[in-house]
C-alpha cells in the first residue's frame, strides 16, 4: 500500500490489460469511428470514380449514379423503406431542418401547430424555435422521470381543428444522452389516426436497434452517417411516398436534385459509405446489440457494486444497448473527467460554459443540478472490448473514490447531514 500513497491518479494503479490501447474511445453517441469495411467501399469513389451522379450523358456520371442508387437501396432495406423514399443530405441536422421546416411550410394552410418534446436534440429544438418566430405554435411536451414521453400528454396536446390544428409531430427515436427509446410505434399511430405527419430523429437508433418506418408509422426520419460507423458530412432523410404521400418545401434551391427536395451535387463517396455502413449494421445488428448490452450491463454492475450513491439515468428497459448514463453523486463531473483523461466519455456538466448550466436533458428528468453535474455518459460501440470496459470501470472507481475523499458533500452526507436543509450561498 505504501507505494500508492501520493500516487498520480492519472497513472492507473491497474496494469493495462493486453489489447487495451490508450486513450479509450467510449463516446459513440457523439460520433463513431469509420468502419474499415466502409472505407474500403468508399475508396474507389475517392480515387477513380469521380463523376457527377447527375451527369446523364457519359459513363463517369453513370458509374457515380450506380454507387448512389446502391446506397439508397442499402439504406432503404435497413429501415423498411423503398429506395425512392431516401433523400441524401449533408447530415442529420440538415435532414431534421428539411423535415420540420419543409413540412411546416408545405402544410401551413392545414394548420399552425407543431408538437415536439423537451429532450430532443438541438437540431429539432432550434428549428422549432425558428418556426415559432415565423408564427407557428409549438408545444414542447415534458418527459417523465424515466425520460419517456407520456402518450396521454401527446394525445392531449393534439389540436384536431381550427387554425391551430396540429400538422406535425417530431419525437426522437432514441435519446443521445440517456439512451431511452421512445414508444415510436404508438406515437406514429396516434399521429396517423389524426392526420398528422410524424417526423422522427432516429440518428441514435438506426443501425443499433430494429427500425421500420412502416410498422413504426414514421413519415419523415433523420439518419446520420457518422453515428453508425459511416463517414461524417453525409446523412439521409426518409420521406414517405404512400399512405400518406408526404411533400416537403425545399430548403436549398438549385438544380432540383433529390426529386427537387434537396438541390446540390451529391456527395458520392459519402453516400456510398453511408450505404455500406447501413448494410453492415443490418447484417450484424442482432449479435452486436446483444454484445453491447452485455458489456453495458457489466459496466453498470461493476460500478454499482463498488460505489455508493450512484444512480442510472433513464428507463433501462427501453434503452439503446450501448448507452449508460450514470450520476456519481457528490462528485463533480468535470473533475471526474479530468481524472479519467485517457478515456473519452461525456459529462452532463458544462462547467466550462459561461452559464454553468448542466445538461437540459438530465434536468428534464427532474434531476437536481448537483446530480446532473455529476453525470457521465458512456457510449459503447462496435470496437469496444471487455478488457476496455474493465479498465474504464476500475479507473472510474479509483477516481470517484479519490474525489469523494475531497468532497465536503460526501463527508456531510456520511455524517447524516441533510444537504437540502443547508442554506447554500448561490454564486
Amino acid at each position: 500500500m505504501a507505494e500508492t500513497i501520493g500516487m498520480n491518479v492519472t497513472q492507473s494503479t491497474h496494469p493495462l490489460p493486453p489489447g487495451v490501447k490508450l486513450p479509450i474511445y467510449m463516446d459513440n453517441h457523439a460520433t463513431t469511428p469509420l468502419d474499415p469495411r466502409v472505407l474500403d467501399a468508399m475508396m474507389p469513389y475517392l480515387t477513380g470514380i469521380f463523376g457527377n451522379a447527375a451527369s446523364r450523358n457519359h459513363s463517369f456520371g453513370w458509374e457515380a449514379e450506380q454507387g448512389v442508387e446502391k446506397a439508397r437501396e442499402q439504406i432503404a432495406r435497413l429501415i423498411g423503406a423503398t429506395a425512392k423514399e431516401v433523400i441524401f443530405t449533408s447530415g442529420a441536422t440538415e435532414s431534421t431542418n428539411l423535415a420540420i421546416k419543409g413540412a411546416a411550410e408545405m402544410y401551413r394552410e392545414r394548420g399552425n401547430h407543431i408538437i415536439t418534446q423537451v429532450t430532443e436534440h438541438k437540431a429539432t429544438l432550434d428549428t422549432c424555435k425558428r418556426l415559432e418566430k415565423s408564427g407557428f405554435r409549438v408545444t414542447y411536451l415534458p418527459v417523465m422521470a424515466d425520460g419517456l414521453i407520456d402518450l396521454e400528454d401527446l394525445q392531449r396536446a393534439i389540436v384536431t381543428d381550427g387554425p391551430d390544428k396540429t400538422i406535425l409531430v417530431s419525437i426522437m427515436y432514441a435519446n443521445n444522452e440517456i439512451g431511452v427509446v421512445q414508444p415510436v410505434q404508438a406515437i406514429g399511430k396516434l399521429c396517423h389516426d389524426n392526420g398528422i405527419i410524424f417526423h422522427c430523429d432516429a440518428v441514435q437508433a438506426v443501425g443499433k436497434i430494429p427500425v421500420n418506418v412502416l410498422t413504426d408509422n414514421i413519415d419523415l426520419m433523420s439518419i446520420s452517417g457518422h453515428k453508425l460507423y459511416g463517414p461524417k458530412g453525409v446523412g439521409a432523410l426518409y420521406v414517405r411516398r404512400r399512405n400518406p404521400r408526404v411533400q416537403l418545401a425545399e430548403q436549398i434551391n438549385g438544380g432540383g436534385h433529390e426529386r427537387g427536395m434537396r438541390s446540390g451535387t451529391l456527395n458520392v463517396p459519402g453516400i456510398v459509405g453511408l450505404g455500406a455502413a447501413c448494410e453492415i449494421c443490418q447484417n450484424e445488428m442482432a449479435a452486436e446489440s446483444a454484445r453491447e448490452a452485455e458489456l453495458r450491463d457489466y459496466l453498470k454492475n461493476k460500478l454499482e457494486s463498488a460505489l455508493d450513491y450512484v444512480q442510472v439515468n433513464g428507463n433501462m428497459e427501453h434503452h439503446l444497448p450501448g448507452n449508460l448514463n450514470m450520476s456519481f453523486i457528490y462528485v463533480e463531473g468535470e473533475s471526474l473527467l479530468m481524472g479519467i483523461n485517457d478515456i473519452a466519455v461525456s459529462s452532463g456538466s458544462a462547467c466550462t460554459s459561461a452559464t454553468l448550466e448542466p445538461s437540459y436533458v438530465l434536468k428534464a428528468l427532474g434531476l437536481g443540478d448537483d446530480v446532473a453535474h455529476s453525470s457521465i455518459r458512456f457510449g459503447l460501440g462496435r470496437f469496444n472490448t471487455k478488457a476496455e470496459v474493465d479498465y474504464v470501470a476500475d479507473k472510474i472507481i479509483d477516481v470517484v473514490q479519490h474525489l469523494r475523499e475531497l468532497s465536503p458533500l460526501y463527508e456531510m452526507v456520511k455524517e447524516g447531514i441533510d444537504l437540502s436543509k443547508i442554506e447554500w450561498a448561490a454564486h
Partner: protein, 139 residues
Amino acid sequence: MAYSEKVVDHYEHPRNVGTLDKSSAEVGTGLVGAPECGDVMRLQIRVNPETQVIEDAKFKTFGCGSAIASSSLATEWVKGKTVAEALSISNTDIVKELSLPPVKIHCSVLAEDAIRAAIGDWKQKNNVAEASAVAVAAH
C-alpha cells in the same frame, strides 16, 4: 479543456485535505458555493489564540479541477500567516499562480470567499473585532 501544470498537480496531489474539529474555539470554518452551481468549498483554519497565526488549514472541495486547485492552494498560502495577512490574499493572486483561464476565475473568487468565511467564523467565535485582529497582526 487544457489545464495548467499547477492545476493538474494540485488535482492529483491535493494539499491539506481533511477536516478540523469545527466545534473547537480555535477553528474557523468557511463553507461557500452551492451544489447546484457545481462548486462547494469547505476551508478550515486553526488559529493560535496567542499569536493569531494560522497554524493549520484543511479543505474539502466538490467542484472542477480548477476549484480543487484553488482551494488546495489557498490552504497552502494561509498556513503560517496571521489572520490579517491571510485576509490580504486575493483571487487575482490565485488566478496568476494557477494560470486560470477566464471561465475559471469564479473558482478563485470562491477560494477567496472561503478564506474570508473561515476567518469570519473564527472571529465570531472569539469575539474578535476587525481592528484588534489588525492590531495583533502588526506586532
